[in-house]
Symmetry: C2
Subunit: 715 residues, 2 copies
């Protein structure tokens, strides 16, 4: 027995115990020691030469110093003059160093891109990080750090990078009372904080560094369901503080504004965008903001959508409203992001309305207006086809809005890596200018000459110590930023980067963890809404399955039945030409492909078609059986995720290992909940058995129907 105790003692102190507890607070910027032999020449890291001393350059310099100190045993000499091996950092270093290709690189990398090159040879080599602006140097520095974090070969770096989108934003749906709409990681980091701003600087710096590290250069500080009060002095003071803090990280602040602000806080009679008094109010307000924040980014507007006020309240168009704000912002190079997320309860198929309402306005928006379009036609479902608005407005600057927070993908309880979903949208072919006209190209300026290119991600960030609730939800913040910089990056490459930086570069860890991530979103689709199903979630809070929900007096398009249309004769939303004809909003050949259930991709088939339960799928199975298999596959995949993750014990710190393990248990239980709820409910219509080889449900429909949540705010 003694031997066993000793063995356990040894195991306890030799394995997980040695890896220190880790809260996740530092995100992917942990700068842990990397392997001692990953760099060919450590002496290059010993000397740092920095050109320039702006705040942005200062941030880059400090970051690099801390990274080298953290990751290596190099004794960094900051006093040394440049000579021999060294890192050189600064704008326009081509003027200092004569290296072939540096100038060409700088000519092509644009205002925020950068060039990194390893030059020289033997004991006299340099790493040159240069750009056309301080911002470019900052991004180049973070790129170099990322290479170190990932233990990449830096012996012959030769990188020229340019961001694909000009404006890369986070949208915080943060309310001024400190709650966060669709926030699952605690209250707002910006509003209604108990701590003094100065006591939060260290905290905010992590946020700023994290964004800078992936190239995010703008952040909208408040909810699109905007309180007019954000434009009052009380809140603008906080905006100024935040802007000052984020400026050295090349992050501009933006605000969501309420279209009725002139009336509500300005005391005007109304907020009609064509009235001079209203236009003047906005101009004055904008001037007031720019006096304090000269690099203020602009406004984000949700107007005439889900009850928000807007120009249509006065018989004006979205263009009228957006252009009024654009004119006010134009002198300061400010931007208006005007959301196309509109749909009326009494209108046509909700999936068609953004297109119907906005496409006719193409060409009518001012140059500094960008129309912000959600990736899909409904609302951030686990899987949607791309919005047909993309590619359909070639005279308008369009931007994609992704949701990083997992409103419909299990909140912060489910591991769902979203890069694969975003890639799916980016790579969807709109056929706007023939084959290859992907959504990415239709928005990044390569297909249409947009005045501005931009992209937005609804943040999943809150006051939780690990920022995002689920440790793996950090990956969605990270991956969004990386794809906003370069949508051609592969989801698996990004995941691998993130895993290495955040947890460990060991293959034994990265390979299975990446496998978990890469398969996770499809698992969620399968156990929630496979085969093109959508909007089956709970009323209002959107937590859990409620395909049965009936709410008296509710908008029909807020109820799952509007979308699944399940009855004895089948399931699905007929958007073919025999139904709502939403398919014609897509270019050919897509319209025809979607229109025919035999050619429609089966992962969207119930999005576009209402089909009988015994419809024969390409597998040869009936629709009902196919549906069952998908739901069961989803549950099985989560069980596999659990198994894979359990083998990670000891390869990373216990604290995060256990936290993720705990979350996976919730996901596993909730996947079963979704599966049982949806299948048992749909079975009341199909009348068909769950295939005999599958596990049986473990829930009762009637009991599931009784589950009620009280979750006005989820954080």
């Amino acid at each position: 027995m003694r031997r066993n105790i000793l063995l356990l003692f040894f195991l306890f102190f030799s394995m997980p115990g040695l890896i220190l507890a880790e809260s996740g607070e530092n995100l992917w910027l942990r700068y842990d020691k990397v392997s001692d032999n990953v760099f060919d020449d450590y002496s290059v890291l010993e000397t740092l030469y920095v050109e320039g001393n702006s705040p942005v350059i200062g941030v880059a310099r400090n970051e690099l110093i801390n990274a080298i100190k953290g990751m290596t045993s190099v004794d960094l000499d900051l006093s040394k003059k440049v000579s021999g091996s060294s890192i050189l950092l600064g704008v326009g270093l081509n003027e200092k160093i004569d290296v072939q290709g540096l100038e060409e690189g700088l000519e092509s990398c644009g205002p925020e891109g950068y060039v990194i090159r390893r030059v020289g040879k033997d004991k006299e080599t340099q790493v040159v990080i240069t750009a056309n602006t301080d911002a470019g140097v900052l991004y180049g520095t973070f790129a170099f750090i990322r290479m170190m974090q990932n233990e990449e070969d830096i012996s012959a770096i030769n990188v020229v990078e340019t961001p694909k989108y000009e404006l890369r934003l986070l949208n915080h749906w943060d309310n001024l009372d400190g709650t966060v709409e669709r926030g699952y990681a605690g209250h707002s980091i910006w509003w209604n904080r108990e701590k003094d701003f100065n006591d939060l600087r260290d905290h905010y710096q992590i946020y700023a560094r994290a964004n800078a590290s992936v190239g995010i250069n703008g952040t909208v500080l408040n909810n699109v369901n905007a309180a007019p009060e954000v434009l009052t002095d009380e809140y603008l003071e906080q905006v100024v503080r935040i802007a000052d803090l984020l400026r050295p990280y090349n992050i501009k602040v933006y605000l969501s504004v309420n279209f009725s602000s002139p009336a509500v806080i300005g005391g005007l009679e109304d907020s009609d965008p064509l009235r001079d008094e209203v236009r003047e109010w906005w101009k004055d307000k904008v001037e007031e903001i720019y006096e304090e924040i000269p690099d203020f980014g602009g406004f984000l507007v949700k107007a005439n959508s889900e009850g928000q006020p807007g120009p249509q309240d006065y018989g004006r168009t979205h263009a009228d409203g957006a252009n009024m704000l654009a004119e006010a912002l134009e002198p300061y190079d400010g931007i208006v992001m005007w959301r196309a997320f509109v749909y009326a309860p009494s209108g046509d198929d909700r999936a068609k309305q953004a297109y119907t309402e906005f496409v006719p306005l193409d060409g009518k928006f001012h140059e500094n207006v960008i129309v912000q379009v959600k990736n899909g036609p409904i609302d951030f479902q686990p899987r949607e086809p791309f919005s047909p608005v993309f590619g359909a407005m070639d005279e308008t600057s369009l931007m994609i809005e992704f949701q990083i927070t997992q409103e419909y993908l299990g909140f912060s309880n489910h591991l769902a890596y979203l890069a694969t979903m975003q890639k799916e949208t980016f790579e969807s072919d709109t056929y706007a200018k023939g084959p290859g006209s992907t959504v990415a190209k239709a928005t990044d300026g390569s297909l249409f000459s947009q005045k501005h290119t931009a992209i937005a991600g609804v943040a999943n960030i809150g006051r939780d110590v690990n920022w995002t609730g689920h440790h793996f939800a950090q990956a969605n913040w990270y991956a969004y930023g990386r794809l906003a910089w370069d949508h051609t990056l592969r989801a698996d490459d990004i995941g691998k980067e993130w895993l290495g930086m955040t947890f460990s570069n060991e293959d034994a860890f990265v390979e299975p963890s990446l496998n978990i991530m890469m398969r996770s979103r499809e698992a969620v689709v399968n156990y929630m809404t496979p085969l093109g199903l959508h909007h089956l979630m709970g009323w209002s809070h959107h937590h859990g399955p409620e395909p049965w929900t009936e709410i008296e007096g509710a908008r029909p398009d807020w109820l799952p039945k509007y979308y699944h249309n399940a009855s004895e004769d089948g399931i699905g939303f007929d958007r073919s030409e025999s139904g709502s004809n939403a398919v014609v909003q897509y270019e050919e050949p897509l319209a025809s492909i979607y229109n025919n259930p035999k050619t429609c991709p089966e992962n969207l088939i119930l999005w576009f078609h209402h089909l009988p339960w015994d419809y024969t799928m390409s597998s040869g199975l009936s629709l009902w059986d196919e549906l069952c298999y998908h739901y069961y596959d989803g549950v099985e995949e989560v069980r596999l995720m659990q198994k894979k993750w359990d083998r990670m014990q000891g390869l990373i710190d216990d604290e995060r290992f256990e936290h993720v393990r705990h979350k996976l248990k919730i996901q596993s239980r909730e996947a079963e909940w979704w599966r049982d709820a949806c299948l048992l409910y749909f079975q009341t219509f199909s009348g068909m058995p769950i295939p005999a080889e599958l596990e049986r449900p473990v829930h009762d429909l009637e009991e599931l129907k009784k589950i009620k949540f009280d979750m006005t705010h989820h954080n």
Copy 2:
């Protein structure tokens, strides 16, 4: 689409719809139509000749008439005189009919046995059901009905049956306030009823017929934790009513009595069994009872056990107490059943105490005392070794007490067929008189010349419409009765009988359902307490797993840790000679077999041994891995049960099908709960991983620990 609707319409009305809803109220006495061609000669059922007209014979006659009417299309002529083919029913029919073997049968079948023979040939055949008493005729009649229900071949019946035990009792743990201790099927059928007794006669008759059909001939009407008040007029009046009602079914009533009754309701100074006044009080009370109930069965006593009063309160022995009551009952042939379920909190290993306390009293009990011994040494756990008291008291009448209600086997929510468990006890070899001295033989009079042989089952009966909460729990009532009659019957044969009578004789139904039943108890053992683990359940209510429970000031032997002893160095209760030495209470070679972990049956290994987590099992696996596999096997088995049951849809009525399906879902979820709770808790000691190929837990230990129930009464 039209075609599909028609098809659904057809399916709806042609399949499950045609099988009428069924509440389960009639238990296994449904008398549904049997196949038209199961009997060689229906004319034999057309004429019924009944000898005698006692109430018991009347019950037999009515039952047979109803059975024939229900099960066949025979036009039963009750007016016809016996001639040609007929059924003959009555005591001592050998005196009326000269049939070879009838007399010999009657000579050997004892007071309650019976003879059934098919005699004659061609169109002149009779079925003769005869016995030495009315009771025997009643049991023979039910046996014949059972054959019909099971569609058995009756062309050449030749049956002589004798019950193995003289007294075959149910123990109702019913409190006078109407609650039922360990009752999971609603409140007491006997006490504190709102309905008038007369309005309950139909209801009670089902109970009486069901018991008579399997040969149960006694019932204890109240909880062994007895309220003294049951012996007051108020309650005795109800006892008289019940006795009158049950008498025609050959069922005697018994009462549990509180040993302090003389003091509490008699106003005596104390209840010392050696004081004349006390003895007189009991004699008077007994006389009073017998005046009203001349065939009153006797008393069941739980004394000096779990806080109940008893003779030891006055320095007297269990024998002193039991004999006092025996003397009072003796003039009326009444019986005392004195429970050996005793254990003191400060004493030796609880498993040893019944033996330690009772074996020295062997030979000291009056002839009309029966010592009632639970099947295992602790308390009705999913698996225990047999109690070493069996075979150890050859001068005492011993009876086995089984628990039919599932206190430790999932209440009425888990399907657990207990016949396999009871058979395991019956067939356990005590070696009391060498090999083959099974527990059955040690209690049925064949090994020792017991004055009385008896058996008791703690009932699972309540006011629920289906009597037992779970439809399949009816099988445990049925099977207990059948085994009480003949412990040599096979569990699968009994299960098959019951399924046929209760649901359907179709092979497509019986085969898989029987498979579910036969594997169910081992499934429960696996997901609750495999490998000899025991007593891991929740405090007080005994619902769910709580291996961690700590209750301040609680009796240690009521806490799971007393039993599992899990720590870093291993798990299990060392009852070998290096531990509590409970093994020596067993005869050799059993003592040596149990004493050595290498020879101890592995399904009891942690009952008798404390072993290190890495102990190598016969499978080659470590104890920890083996434990994991057993817990997971349990869960998998329940999932299989669900799958098998789902295929039964349409083969039986929807009402019971759905009810069982619902219960199986609960069982499936709770099996996972047990598995996760026990393994995650034990893992905190073992420090070993759950084998990688197994599913991961879906619960968190800390969350499971927080679960608290408020369930003072479970019904």
